[in-house]
Symmetry: C2
Subunit: 336 residues, 2 copies
């Protein structure tokens, strides 16, 4: 890959991203300062390397997945955000009324809007939440609600139907004990402490302590596990992309976007990187899309953000947007 091949591949990718038309040799003469014949020769070389492909024997060239990958890894340069992109995002951050988790969602909505891709936020209560308080409210003789609140201001509640002979007062007693002893405990350590510190104590003081222990155990577990929030913005943006012009493509992708299993796809990033770009088959979602994933962590919540777009995505722009956003989110955090 000499200098000119790099330039040529970059040109092909960026041209194709812009026009969505296979790019022919003639159109690049000016940019590369040589004749179409020379370019054709170089193209043959790039094709042998697997970076570009033809749809048919006599059509222009299109980047292959390998080509995009090479572009992403070697050719693209992180750009500064353009004025408009920057402005829109700043509006979100300057709104102090929003709770942090809403800020994430708002940002992704904006990014979806700006780029016309689909974005997904998969967040859960992060492990740096500390127990602030647990409340028990009796609704009637056999139904209670347990409300868990953390220092980051995240509140979850769960209803329980009690076995008929359970005494609500005992439950309240236990909750007071928990409040005294466990406030300030990291939320993911609560179950553990509950078992080894609280359980032995209530075993002596509270009758029917097994039932009661289980209620609290469930309540805390719910907080950690159940609460995986998924939020999709601009679901139809992806469908609007012109390459999905056949009904069956649209239906297939729409159906995948609806499917529960695509949570799995977003869930985690392989390896330790903060950001990763999955092109085509790598995406584990659909051969015709690119997925860019980015980890985030802020204000009691952590998770992954994913942008789903066509393979001919505006890579530079999306990467810049995501980076800017996550940096601001974390910055906001520190400032607190």
């Amino acid at each position: 890959m000499d200098e000119r091949k790099n330039a040529l591949l970059k040109e092909i990718v960026e041209n194709y991203v812009k026009t969505i038309k296979p790019v022919g040799s003639k159109s690049l003469c000016k940019k590369l300062k040589c004749s179409s014949a020379t370019i054709r020769n170089e193209m043959v070389a790039l094709e042998n390397l697997g970076y570009i492909e033809k749809n048919h024997i006599s059509s222009g060239r299109v980047p292959s997945e390998l080509g995009y990958r090479y572009y992403v890894e070697n050719l693209m340069k992180p750009k500064d955000l353009t004025g408009e992109d920057m402005l829109k995002l700043q509006q979100i951050f300057s709104n102090n009324d929003l709770q942090v988790s809403d800020t994430v969602l708002k940002c992704m909505e904006i990014i979806s809007d700006l780029t016309n891709y689909t974005s997904v936020v998969l967040g859960k209560n992060s492990s740096d939440n500390y127990l602030k308080q647990i409340n028990i409210i009796a609704l009637d003789s056999n139904k209670i609600i347990a409300i868990v609140c953390t220092d980051k201001g995240i509140v979850e509640n769960k209803q329980f139907v009690l076995p008929s002979n359970t005494d609500v007062l005992e439950i309240v007693k236990t909750s007071e004990m928990i409040n005294k002893m466990l406030v300030g405990t990291p939320i993911n350590k609560v179950s553990e402490k509950l078992e080894f510190e609280i359980k032995p104590i209530i075993a002596k003081r509270v009758k029917d302590y097994e039932t009661i222990y289980n209620i609290f155990y469930d309540a805390f577990n719910d907080f950690l596990l159940h609460n995986t929030n998924i939020h999709v913005s601009g679901r139809v943006n992806l469908l609007k992309e012109p390459e999905y012009e056949e009904a069956k493509d649209i239906k297939r992708i729409a159906s995948k976007l609806e499917d529960e299993s695509f949570k799995e796809m977003v869930k985690s990033i392989d390896g330790n990187e903060d950001m990763k770009i999955y092109i085509g088959k790598d995406s584990n979602f659909d051969d015709n899309v690119t997925v860019i994933k980015r980890k985030y962590k802020t204000g009691g919540e952590e998770g992954t953000i994913a942008i789903i777009g066509p393979k001919r995505m505006e890579y530079e722009r999306v990467v810049s947007l995501l980076n800017y956003m996550v940096n601001r989110l974390e910055g906001k955090n520190e400032r607190k």
Copy 2:
């Protein structure tokens, strides 16, 4: 509309619903026990009445919107649920672990699944919630959370950032007062009582009472207003229907399903009826769909359910499913 015309129209609608092909005169000979020529004569009559249409001069007949309407109002017979439909729904109702609001959602998921249409639930906390308790939790010196809980077990919370000179203790004091005086008040009457019963009292006892009053006012208002939950199931089902085979149809409808404004469409049913069927243009959503709306009310929540499908919907089946479901929901309520 004599007997035979009714039978013919019914046959045409049901045939078309099943096959999605314009129905020709020949295919109905056996069913109606007469020759194709006779049927053609009758068809001309039905066409003049506006109940059926032709795509072109020489194709079979298709029901018009008016035809569907006539069918829905005069021809269709409420069917008993088939074994499978019944079974699937019963599974939901027999699961006692679900909270009521989840039951509604689960039901709609099942109905979406069974019918392959899209369903929407638009629910909000109903006015028959009574205040059970309000809790104030101080997160740090200038941030608090107010948690409102009702007798039906609905819990909402809202965070407030306090002006720097506010005393949290005063807020807690006020909340205790509210708990003493307003527990048992219908949630939509709380704001009123707050203003006329509580405000005069705290005005004397609490300094900076305006700020504090506003916090509680906001918290209760949020409970009523903000909390309009919308839930869409089987968004892509609609797109799968074979009549939407052009990309532009699919994109248009997908885009409407994503749009916020379609909440409005679901919101209410004109008039006092519990159920209403909107066909085509009437739907206020898209000329090519039918929307069936049904009110429901259960366990602290009330709202509207809508089924969105093609105009050639399986009307009888959907109506039966919805009726069965709402009856069970209300039944479950009474049993409590």
